[in-house]
Protein backbone atom coordinates (compact mmCIF):
# COMPACT_ATOMS: atom_id res chain seq x y z
CA UNK A 1 0.00 0.00 0.00
CA UNK A 2 1.42 3.43 -0.95
CA UNK A 3 2.21 5.96 1.76
CA UNK A 4 -0.30 8.67 0.71
CA UNK A 5 -3.11 6.11 0.74
CA UNK A 6 -2.17 5.11 4.25
CA UNK A 7 -2.19 8.78 5.26
CA UNK A 8 -5.68 9.22 3.83
CA UNK A 9 -6.86 5.94 5.30
CA UNK A 10 -5.60 6.83 8.75
CA UNK A 11 -7.23 10.25 8.58
CA UNK A 12 -10.55 8.87 7.36
CA UNK A 13 -10.62 6.04 9.92
CA UNK A 14 -9.97 8.50 12.74
CA UNK A 15 -12.56 10.92 11.40
CA UNK A 16 -15.14 8.14 11.09
CA UNK A 17 -14.44 6.88 14.61
CA UNK A 18 -14.76 10.39 16.04
CA UNK A 19 -17.97 11.10 14.20
CA UNK A 20 -19.39 7.71 15.13
CA UNK A 21 -18.62 8.35 18.81
CA UNK A 22 -20.10 11.82 18.53
CA UNK A 23 -23.35 10.84 16.83
CA UNK A 24 -23.99 7.75 18.94
CA UNK A 25 -23.25 9.29 22.33
CA UNK A 26 -26.09 11.43 23.70
CA UNK A 27 -23.72 12.98 26.25
CA UNK A 28 -21.67 14.41 23.37
CA UNK A 29 -24.25 15.24 20.72
CA UNK A 30 -26.98 16.77 22.88
CA UNK A 31 -24.86 19.58 24.39
CA UNK A 32 -23.24 20.21 20.99
CA UNK A 33 -26.64 20.76 19.38
CA UNK A 34 -28.40 22.41 22.31
CA UNK A 35 -25.81 24.92 23.45
CA UNK A 36 -25.67 27.04 20.28
CA UNK A 37 -29.44 26.94 20.10
CA UNK A 38 -29.68 27.95 23.72
CA UNK A 39 -27.30 30.89 23.28
CA UNK A 40 -29.13 31.94 20.14
CA UNK A 41 -32.58 31.92 21.75
CA UNK A 42 -31.34 33.51 24.98
CA UNK A 43 -29.50 36.34 23.22
CA UNK A 44 -31.88 36.95 20.33
CA UNK A 45 -35.00 36.47 22.47
CA UNK A 46 -33.99 38.20 25.69
CA UNK A 47 -32.12 41.12 24.20
CA UNK A 48 -34.15 41.88 21.08
CA UNK A 49 -35.07 45.29 22.49
CA UNK A 50 -31.42 46.28 22.02
CA UNK A 51 -32.19 46.92 18.34
CA UNK A 52 -34.14 49.98 19.53
CA UNK A 53 -31.02 51.56 21.03
CA UNK A 54 -30.12 54.76 19.18
CA UNK A 55 -27.20 53.98 16.87
CA UNK A 56 -27.98 50.28 16.39
CA UNK A 57 -27.59 50.22 12.64
CA UNK A 58 -27.57 46.55 11.66
CA UNK A 59 -30.22 46.47 8.91
CA UNK A 60 -31.46 42.90 9.39
CA UNK A 61 -32.55 43.18 13.01
CA UNK A 62 -31.31 41.71 16.26
CA UNK A 63 -32.02 38.04 15.51
CA UNK A 64 -29.77 38.15 12.43
CA UNK A 65 -27.19 40.19 14.35
CA UNK A 66 -26.98 37.54 17.07
CA UNK A 67 -27.00 34.71 14.54
CA UNK A 68 -23.75 36.11 13.15
CA UNK A 69 -22.10 35.72 16.54
CA UNK A 70 -23.66 32.41 17.59
CA UNK A 71 -22.72 30.74 14.28
CA UNK A 72 -19.05 31.63 14.83
CA UNK A 73 -19.27 30.65 18.49
CA UNK A 74 -20.72 27.22 17.67
CA UNK A 75 -18.03 26.70 15.02
CA UNK A 76 -15.31 27.62 17.54
CA UNK A 77 -16.70 25.31 20.19
CA UNK A 78 -16.97 22.49 17.66
CA UNK A 79 -13.20 22.78 17.32
CA UNK A 80 -12.65 22.95 21.06
CA UNK A 81 -14.84 19.91 21.74
CA UNK A 82 -12.88 17.97 19.12
CA UNK A 83 -9.81 18.94 21.16
CA UNK A 84 -11.49 17.31 24.17
CA UNK A 85 -11.86 14.16 22.07
CA UNK A 86 -8.13 14.19 21.25
CA UNK A 87 -7.30 14.47 24.95
CA UNK A 88 -9.69 11.60 25.75
CA UNK A 89 -8.04 9.44 23.06
CA UNK A 90 -4.66 10.03 24.68
CA UNK A 91 -6.03 9.25 28.13
CA UNK A 92 -7.61 6.02 26.98
CA UNK A 93 -4.46 4.87 25.18
CA UNK A 94 -6.14 4.88 21.76
CA UNK A 95 -3.74 7.51 20.40
CA UNK A 96 -0.74 5.46 21.50
CA UNK A 97 -2.05 2.51 19.46
CA UNK A 98 -2.68 4.73 16.43
CA UNK A 99 0.85 6.13 16.70
CA UNK A 100 2.21 2.59 16.68
CA UNK A 101 0.06 1.67 13.70
CA UNK A 102 0.83 4.52 11.35
CA UNK A 103 4.01 6.28 10.24
CA UNK A 104 1.93 9.38 9.36
CA UNK A 105 1.14 11.01 12.68
CA UNK A 106 -0.05 14.19 10.99
CA UNK A 107 -2.84 12.02 9.60
CA UNK A 108 -4.20 12.01 13.15
CA UNK A 109 -4.58 15.78 13.03
CA UNK A 110 -6.14 15.55 9.57
CA UNK A 111 -8.66 12.99 10.86
CA UNK A 112 -9.63 15.13 13.80
CA UNK A 113 -9.93 18.14 11.46
CA UNK A 114 -12.32 16.26 9.16
CA UNK A 115 -14.56 15.26 12.07
CA UNK A 116 -14.44 18.80 13.46
CA UNK A 117 -15.51 20.20 10.06
CA UNK A 118 -18.39 17.74 9.74
CA UNK A 119 -19.60 18.56 13.26
CA UNK A 120 -19.44 22.29 12.53
CA UNK A 121 -21.36 21.86 9.28
CA UNK A 122 -24.12 19.82 10.94
CA UNK A 123 -24.52 22.16 13.93
CA UNK A 124 -24.29 25.24 11.69
CA UNK A 125 -26.92 23.87 9.29
CA UNK A 126 -29.27 23.15 12.18
CA UNK A 127 -28.74 26.64 13.58
CA UNK A 128 -29.29 28.18 10.14
CA UNK A 129 -32.54 26.26 9.63
CA UNK A 130 -33.89 27.22 13.04
CA UNK A 131 -32.91 30.87 12.64
CA UNK A 132 -34.69 31.05 9.28
CA UNK A 133 -37.70 29.20 10.73
CA UNK A 134 -38.08 31.77 13.53
CA UNK A 135 -38.02 34.60 11.01
CA UNK A 136 -34.41 35.72 10.75
CA UNK A 137 -34.07 38.40 8.07
CA UNK A 138 -31.29 37.01 5.84
CA UNK A 139 -30.25 39.17 2.88
CA UNK A 140 -27.16 37.24 1.75
CA UNK A 141 -27.03 35.71 -1.70
CA UNK A 142 -25.31 32.46 -2.68
CA UNK A 143 -21.83 34.00 -2.67
CA UNK A 144 -22.45 35.67 0.68
CA UNK A 145 -23.59 32.35 2.12
CA UNK A 146 -20.47 30.64 0.77
CA UNK A 147 -18.38 33.40 2.38
CA UNK A 148 -20.22 33.04 5.70
CA UNK A 149 -19.76 29.27 5.72
CA UNK A 150 -16.08 29.66 4.81
CA UNK A 151 -15.59 32.07 7.70
CA UNK A 152 -17.35 29.72 10.14
CA UNK A 153 -15.27 26.74 8.99
CA UNK A 154 -12.15 28.88 9.26
CA UNK A 155 -13.03 29.71 12.87
CA UNK A 156 -13.67 26.01 13.48
CA UNK A 157 -10.24 25.14 12.10
CA UNK A 158 -8.47 27.83 14.17
CA UNK A 159 -10.16 26.61 17.36
CA UNK A 160 -9.30 23.00 16.53
CA UNK A 161 -5.64 23.83 15.85
CA UNK A 162 -5.42 25.71 19.14
CA UNK A 163 -7.22 23.03 21.17
CA UNK A 164 -5.30 20.18 19.53
CA UNK A 165 -2.01 21.92 20.38
CA UNK A 166 -3.07 21.96 24.03
CA UNK A 167 -4.39 18.38 23.89
CA UNK A 168 -1.19 17.03 22.28
CA UNK A 169 0.92 18.73 24.94
CA UNK A 170 -1.09 17.75 28.04
CA UNK A 171 -2.71 14.53 26.79
CA UNK A 172 -5.40 14.66 29.50
CA UNK A 173 -8.97 15.86 29.58
CA UNK A 174 -8.03 17.82 32.70
CA UNK A 175 -6.54 20.34 30.29
CA UNK A 176 -10.09 21.06 29.07
CA UNK A 177 -10.30 24.48 30.72
CA UNK A 178 -7.03 25.44 29.01
CA UNK A 179 -8.65 24.72 25.64
CA UNK A 180 -12.03 26.23 26.41
CA UNK A 181 -11.36 29.35 28.48
CA UNK A 182 -9.09 31.27 26.06
CA UNK A 183 -11.47 30.61 23.15
CA UNK A 184 -14.43 31.67 25.25
CA UNK A 185 -12.64 34.86 26.34
CA UNK A 186 -11.48 35.84 22.86
CA UNK A 187 -15.00 35.29 21.53
CA UNK A 188 -16.61 37.44 24.21
CA UNK A 189 -14.06 40.24 23.73
CA UNK A 190 -15.74 41.09 20.42
CA UNK A 191 -18.91 43.11 19.75
CA UNK A 192 -21.21 40.31 20.96
CA UNK A 193 -24.35 42.25 21.84
CA UNK A 194 -24.10 45.53 19.92
CA UNK A 195 -22.14 46.84 16.94
CA UNK A 196 -18.58 47.99 17.58
CA UNK A 197 -19.60 51.67 17.55
CA UNK A 198 -21.94 51.16 20.52
CA UNK A 199 -19.39 49.45 22.78
CA UNK A 200 -18.46 51.38 25.91
CA UNK A 201 -15.36 51.58 28.11
CA UNK A 202 -12.44 49.15 28.08
CA UNK A 203 -14.26 46.55 25.96
CA UNK A 204 -14.44 49.10 23.14
CA UNK A 205 -10.62 49.33 23.02
CA UNK A 206 -10.10 45.58 23.38
CA UNK A 207 -12.66 44.68 20.73
CA UNK A 208 -11.10 47.21 18.35
CA UNK A 209 -7.79 45.30 18.37
CA UNK A 210 -9.24 41.78 18.71
CA UNK A 211 -8.79 40.21 15.26
CA UNK A 212 -11.85 38.05 15.82
CA UNK A 213 -13.92 41.26 15.77
CA UNK A 214 -13.24 41.49 12.01
CA UNK A 215 -14.37 37.91 11.57
CA UNK A 216 -17.61 38.42 13.52
CA UNK A 217 -18.39 41.72 11.79
CA UNK A 218 -17.50 40.29 8.41
CA UNK A 219 -19.83 37.35 9.06
CA UNK A 220 -22.63 39.77 9.93
CA UNK A 221 -21.96 41.74 6.77
CA UNK A 222 -22.44 38.54 4.73
CA UNK A 223 -25.81 38.08 6.44
CA UNK A 224 -26.77 41.63 5.49
CA UNK A 225 -25.65 40.96 1.91
CA UNK A 226 -23.09 43.76 1.94
CA UNK A 227 -19.72 42.08 2.61
CA UNK A 228 -17.22 44.24 4.50
CA UNK A 229 -13.79 43.85 6.08
CA UNK A 230 -13.16 40.65 4.09
CA UNK A 231 -9.46 41.27 3.62
CA UNK A 232 -8.95 41.81 7.36
CA UNK A 233 -11.09 38.81 8.32
CA UNK A 234 -9.61 36.30 5.88
CA UNK A 235 -6.11 37.78 6.22
CA UNK A 236 -6.24 37.32 9.96
CA UNK A 237 -7.57 33.81 9.42
CA UNK A 238 -4.66 32.89 7.17
CA UNK A 239 -1.98 34.25 9.52
CA UNK A 240 -3.63 32.71 12.60
CA UNK A 241 -3.97 29.37 10.78
CA UNK A 242 -0.24 29.37 10.04
CA UNK A 243 0.73 30.19 13.62
CA UNK A 244 -1.73 27.73 15.14
CA UNK A 245 -0.75 24.98 12.69
CA UNK A 246 2.83 25.32 13.97
CA UNK A 247 1.46 25.24 17.55
CA UNK A 248 -0.51 22.09 16.83
CA UNK A 249 2.21 20.26 14.89
CA UNK A 250 4.89 21.01 17.49
CA UNK A 251 2.43 19.69 20.08
CA UNK A 252 2.05 16.54 18.03
CA UNK A 253 5.83 16.14 17.94
CA UNK A 254 5.92 16.45 21.73
CA UNK A 255 3.22 13.78 22.01
CA UNK A 256 5.27 11.51 19.71
CA UNK A 257 8.40 12.07 21.79
CA UNK A 258 6.42 11.22 24.93
CA UNK A 259 5.30 8.00 23.25
CA UNK A 260 1.60 9.00 23.15
Amino acid sequence: MSQPRRFTETALILAWRNLHNFYTSPALIIPALLFPLFFFTAFAGGLSNVENVPGFDFPNGYTAFQFGFVLMQSAAFGGVFTGFGIARDFESGFSRRIMLATPHRTAMLAGYAISSFVRAVVVGAMLFAIALAVGMDYSGGVLDTVGLVALALGVNMLALLFASGVAFRFRTIQAGPLMQTPVFMVLFLTPVYVPQALLHGWIESVAAVNPLTFVIESGRSFIAGVPEELLLAFGFGAVAALVLAIWSLTGLRKAEQAGG
Partner: protein
Protein backbone atom coordinates in the same frame (compact mmCIF):
# COMPACT_ATOMS: atom_id res chain seq x y z
CA UNK B 1 -18.72 8.16 76.42
CA UNK B 2 -21.26 10.97 75.93
CA UNK B 3 -22.70 11.30 72.44
CA UNK B 4 -21.77 14.76 71.02
CA UNK B 5 -24.68 17.18 70.60
CA UNK B 6 -26.09 17.84 67.13
CA UNK B 7 -24.48 21.28 67.31
CA UNK B 8 -21.04 19.76 67.98
CA UNK B 9 -21.52 17.25 65.18
CA UNK B 10 -22.55 19.99 62.76
CA UNK B 11 -19.63 22.16 63.81
CA UNK B 12 -17.10 19.40 63.11
CA UNK B 13 -18.51 18.55 59.68
CA UNK B 14 -18.81 22.28 58.91
CA UNK B 15 -15.18 22.85 59.85
CA UNK B 16 -14.16 20.06 57.47
CA UNK B 17 -16.36 21.53 54.72
CA UNK B 18 -15.04 25.09 55.14
CA UNK B 19 -11.41 23.90 55.20
CA UNK B 20 -11.98 21.70 52.14
CA UNK B 21 -13.39 24.71 50.28
CA UNK B 22 -10.54 27.02 51.27
CA UNK B 23 -7.91 24.42 50.38
CA UNK B 24 -9.25 23.88 46.87
CA UNK B 25 -8.74 27.09 44.88
CA UNK B 26 -9.65 25.13 41.75
CA UNK B 27 -13.16 24.93 43.20
CA UNK B 28 -13.72 28.51 44.28
CA UNK B 29 -11.47 30.49 41.91
CA UNK B 30 -13.63 29.95 38.79
CA UNK B 31 -16.71 30.95 40.83
CA UNK B 32 -14.99 34.24 41.56
CA UNK B 33 -13.14 35.02 38.32
CA UNK B 34 -15.60 33.81 35.68
CA UNK B 35 -18.58 35.91 36.91
CA UNK B 36 -16.40 39.01 37.30
CA UNK B 37 -15.03 38.58 33.79
CA UNK B 38 -18.53 38.23 32.35
CA UNK B 39 -19.88 41.23 34.23
CA UNK B 40 -16.91 43.30 33.01
CA UNK B 41 -17.56 42.25 29.41
CA UNK B 42 -21.33 42.64 29.58
CA UNK B 43 -21.28 46.00 31.32
CA UNK B 44 -19.21 47.43 28.46
CA UNK B 45 -20.95 45.46 25.75
CA UNK B 46 -24.48 46.25 26.81
CA UNK B 47 -24.11 49.74 28.28
CA UNK B 48 -25.95 51.06 25.23
CA UNK B 49 -29.04 49.18 26.47
CA UNK B 50 -29.40 51.75 29.27
CA UNK B 51 -30.63 54.17 26.57
CA UNK B 52 -33.76 52.07 26.05
CA UNK B 53 -36.67 54.10 27.46
CA UNK B 54 -37.68 52.77 30.87
CA UNK B 55 -34.31 51.18 31.68
CA UNK B 56 -33.99 51.54 35.47
CA UNK B 57 -30.43 52.88 35.64
CA UNK B 58 -27.92 54.67 33.43
CA UNK B 59 -25.15 52.23 34.38
CA UNK B 60 -25.28 48.72 32.97
CA UNK B 61 -22.55 47.74 35.43
CA UNK B 62 -24.94 48.52 38.33
CA UNK B 63 -27.67 46.56 36.57
CA UNK B 64 -25.45 43.57 35.77
CA UNK B 65 -23.82 43.25 39.20
CA UNK B 66 -26.63 40.97 40.36
CA UNK B 67 -25.55 38.31 37.85
CA UNK B 68 -22.28 37.27 39.59
CA UNK B 69 -24.27 36.55 42.74
CA UNK B 70 -26.34 34.02 40.82
CA UNK B 71 -23.36 32.55 38.97
CA UNK B 72 -21.57 32.09 42.29
CA UNK B 73 -24.72 30.38 43.54
CA UNK B 74 -24.61 27.95 40.62
CA UNK B 75 -20.96 27.19 41.33
CA UNK B 76 -21.88 26.60 44.99
CA UNK B 77 -24.50 24.11 43.83
CA UNK B 78 -21.82 22.24 41.91
CA UNK B 79 -19.26 22.43 44.72
CA UNK B 80 -21.61 21.32 47.51
CA UNK B 81 -23.02 18.54 45.37
CA UNK B 82 -19.61 17.39 44.15
CA UNK B 83 -18.20 17.36 47.69
CA UNK B 84 -21.04 15.19 48.98
CA UNK B 85 -20.96 12.94 45.90
CA UNK B 86 -17.22 12.48 46.37
CA UNK B 87 -17.81 11.61 50.04
CA UNK B 88 -20.28 8.98 48.85
CA UNK B 89 -17.98 7.68 46.11
CA UNK B 90 -14.88 7.38 48.30
CA UNK B 91 -16.73 5.76 51.20
CA UNK B 92 -16.51 8.64 53.69
CA UNK B 93 -20.28 8.55 54.12
CA UNK B 94 -20.25 4.81 54.74
CA UNK B 95 -17.74 5.37 57.53
CA UNK B 96 -19.98 8.12 58.91
CA UNK B 97 -22.87 5.67 58.86
CA UNK B 98 -21.01 3.59 61.46
CA UNK B 99 -20.95 6.58 63.81
CA UNK B 100 -23.93 8.06 65.67
CA UNK B 101 -23.81 11.32 63.64
CA UNK B 102 -27.23 12.63 62.63
CA UNK B 103 -28.15 13.05 58.96
CA UNK B 104 -29.15 16.68 59.43
CA UNK B 105 -25.81 17.49 61.07
CA UNK B 106 -24.01 15.83 58.18
CA UNK B 107 -25.91 17.76 55.52
CA UNK B 108 -25.88 21.09 57.35
CA UNK B 109 -22.16 20.70 57.92
CA UNK B 110 -21.55 19.85 54.25
CA UNK B 111 -23.30 23.11 53.30
CA UNK B 112 -21.24 25.30 55.62
CA UNK B 113 -18.42 25.71 53.12
CA UNK B 114 -20.66 27.09 50.38
CA UNK B 115 -22.51 29.43 52.74
CA UNK B 116 -19.21 30.93 53.89
CA UNK B 117 -18.18 31.14 50.24
CA UNK B 118 -21.46 32.91 49.35
CA UNK B 119 -20.95 35.47 52.10
CA UNK B 120 -17.32 36.16 51.14
CA UNK B 121 -18.06 36.35 47.42
CA UNK B 122 -20.98 38.71 48.08
CA UNK B 123 -18.60 41.07 49.86
CA UNK B 124 -16.02 40.79 47.06
CA UNK B 125 -18.56 41.37 44.27
CA UNK B 126 -19.90 44.41 46.10
CA UNK B 127 -16.40 45.82 46.71
CA UNK B 128 -15.29 45.24 43.10
CA UNK B 129 -18.53 46.70 41.77
CA UNK B 130 -18.26 49.84 43.88
CA UNK B 131 -14.58 50.23 42.96
CA UNK B 132 -15.55 49.97 39.27
CA UNK B 133 -18.11 52.75 39.68
CA UNK B 134 -21.39 50.95 40.33
CA UNK B 135 -24.13 52.63 42.37
CA UNK B 136 -25.48 51.11 45.58
CA UNK B 137 -28.68 52.75 46.76
CA UNK B 138 -29.44 50.78 49.92
CA UNK B 139 -26.87 52.09 52.40
CA UNK B 140 -25.43 50.14 55.32
CA UNK B 141 -28.61 48.15 55.97
CA UNK B 142 -28.59 47.22 52.30
CA UNK B 143 -25.05 45.83 52.61
CA UNK B 144 -26.18 43.50 55.40
CA UNK B 145 -29.27 42.49 53.44
CA UNK B 146 -27.15 41.88 50.32
CA UNK B 147 -24.72 39.63 52.16
CA UNK B 148 -27.59 37.78 53.81
CA UNK B 149 -29.28 37.28 50.44
CA UNK B 150 -26.01 36.15 48.83
CA UNK B 151 -25.63 33.55 51.59
CA UNK B 152 -29.28 32.51 51.25
CA UNK B 153 -28.89 32.05 47.48
CA UNK B 154 -25.77 29.89 47.84
CA UNK B 155 -27.46 27.89 50.62
CA UNK B 156 -30.59 27.30 48.53
CA UNK B 157 -28.70 26.27 45.40
CA UNK B 158 -26.24 24.27 47.50
CA UNK B 159 -29.24 22.28 48.80
CA UNK B 160 -30.17 21.43 45.20
CA UNK B 161 -26.61 20.17 44.69
CA UNK B 162 -26.61 17.98 47.80
CA UNK B 163 -30.06 16.63 46.95
CA UNK B 164 -28.83 15.41 43.56
CA UNK B 165 -25.63 14.08 45.14
CA UNK B 166 -27.50 12.24 47.90
CA UNK B 167 -30.03 10.87 45.45
CA UNK B 168 -27.68 9.75 42.65
CA UNK B 169 -24.34 9.56 44.43
CA UNK B 170 -22.33 10.59 41.39
CA UNK B 171 -20.16 13.70 41.04
CA UNK B 172 -20.57 13.43 37.26
CA UNK B 173 -24.35 13.75 37.63
CA UNK B 174 -23.88 16.84 39.79
CA UNK B 175 -21.61 18.41 37.16
CA UNK B 176 -24.36 17.72 34.63
CA UNK B 177 -26.54 20.24 36.48
CA UNK B 178 -24.32 23.10 35.34
CA UNK B 179 -25.82 23.52 31.86
CA UNK B 180 -29.33 23.13 33.26
CA UNK B 181 -28.89 25.93 35.80
CA UNK B 182 -27.05 28.05 33.26
CA UNK B 183 -30.20 27.79 31.16
CA UNK B 184 -32.30 28.91 34.14
CA UNK B 185 -30.00 31.89 34.46
CA UNK B 186 -30.04 32.86 30.78
CA UNK B 187 -33.82 32.54 30.48
CA UNK B 188 -34.41 34.98 33.32
CA UNK B 189 -34.41 38.76 33.67
CA UNK B 190 -30.62 38.53 33.85
CA UNK B 191 -29.80 40.81 30.92
CA UNK B 192 -32.91 42.95 30.61
CA UNK B 193 -35.64 44.10 33.05
CA UNK B 194 -38.73 41.93 32.54
CA UNK B 195 -41.01 44.79 31.38
CA UNK B 196 -38.44 45.64 28.68
CA UNK B 197 -38.15 42.12 27.26
CA UNK B 198 -39.77 42.48 23.83
CA UNK B 199 -40.47 38.85 23.01
CA UNK B 200 -43.66 37.73 24.77
CA UNK B 201 -42.58 34.09 25.09
CA UNK B 202 -39.25 35.07 26.64
CA UNK B 203 -40.94 37.46 29.10
CA UNK B 204 -43.37 34.68 30.09
CA UNK B 205 -40.50 32.24 30.69
CA UNK B 206 -38.54 34.84 32.67
CA UNK B 207 -41.64 35.61 34.77
CA UNK B 208 -42.16 31.93 35.58
CA UNK B 209 -38.47 31.43 36.33
CA UNK B 210 -37.72 31.74 40.09
CA UNK B 211 -34.15 32.79 39.29
CA UNK B 212 -35.54 36.10 37.96
CA UNK B 213 -36.82 36.99 41.44
CA UNK B 214 -33.50 36.15 43.09
CA UNK B 215 -31.69 38.38 40.59
CA UNK B 216 -34.24 41.15 41.06
CA UNK B 217 -33.87 40.93 44.85
CA UNK B 218 -30.12 41.52 44.57
CA UNK B 219 -30.49 44.07 41.77
CA UNK B 220 -33.07 46.12 43.69
CA UNK B 221 -30.57 46.72 46.48
CA UNK B 222 -28.14 48.22 43.97
CA UNK B 223 -30.61 50.26 41.93
CA UNK B 224 -33.66 51.27 43.94
CA UNK B 225 -32.90 50.81 47.64
CA UNK B 226 -34.53 48.46 50.13
CA UNK B 227 -37.74 47.17 48.54
CA UNK B 228 -39.64 44.98 51.04
CA UNK B 229 -41.70 43.14 48.45
CA UNK B 230 -38.76 42.30 46.18
CA UNK B 231 -36.68 41.12 49.13
CA UNK B 232 -39.53 39.08 50.64
CA UNK B 233 -39.94 37.31 47.29
CA UNK B 234 -36.20 36.63 46.96
CA UNK B 235 -35.75 35.39 50.54
CA UNK B 236 -39.03 33.46 50.32
CA UNK B 237 -37.92 31.62 47.17
CA UNK B 238 -34.54 30.85 48.77
CA UNK B 239 -36.32 29.49 51.86
CA UNK B 240 -38.69 27.36 49.77
CA UNK B 241 -35.84 25.89 47.69
CA UNK B 242 -33.79 25.25 50.84
CA UNK B 243 -36.63 23.49 52.71
CA UNK B 244 -37.79 21.38 49.76
CA UNK B 245 -34.36 20.20 48.67
CA UNK B 246 -32.98 19.81 52.20
CA UNK B 247 -35.96 17.58 53.01
CA UNK B 248 -35.38 15.60 49.83
CA UNK B 249 -31.65 15.32 50.54
CA UNK B 250 -32.26 14.12 54.11
CA UNK B 251 -34.64 11.41 52.88
CA UNK B 252 -32.26 10.35 50.11
CA UNK B 253 -29.39 10.20 52.56
CA UNK B 254 -31.47 8.14 54.99
CA UNK B 255 -32.14 5.62 52.26
CA UNK B 256 -28.46 5.59 51.30
CA UNK B 257 -27.23 5.13 54.85
CA UNK B 258 -29.88 2.53 55.54
CA UNK B 259 -31.20 4.15 58.69
Amino acid sequence: MNRPSTFDQTREVARRSVLATIRQPAQWAPALIFPLFLVAVNSGGLNAATKIPGFPTDSYLTFALAIPFMQAGIFSLLNAGTDLARDIEDGFLDRMALTPISRSALLTGELAGVVVQGFMFGAIFLAVGLAAGADFESGAVGVLLLLALASAITLALGCVGIFVAARIGSSEAVQGLFPLFFMFLFFSSMAMPRPLIEQDWFRAVATANPISYLIEGVRGLFISGVDGEQLALAFGICAAITVIFMFGATRALSARLGR
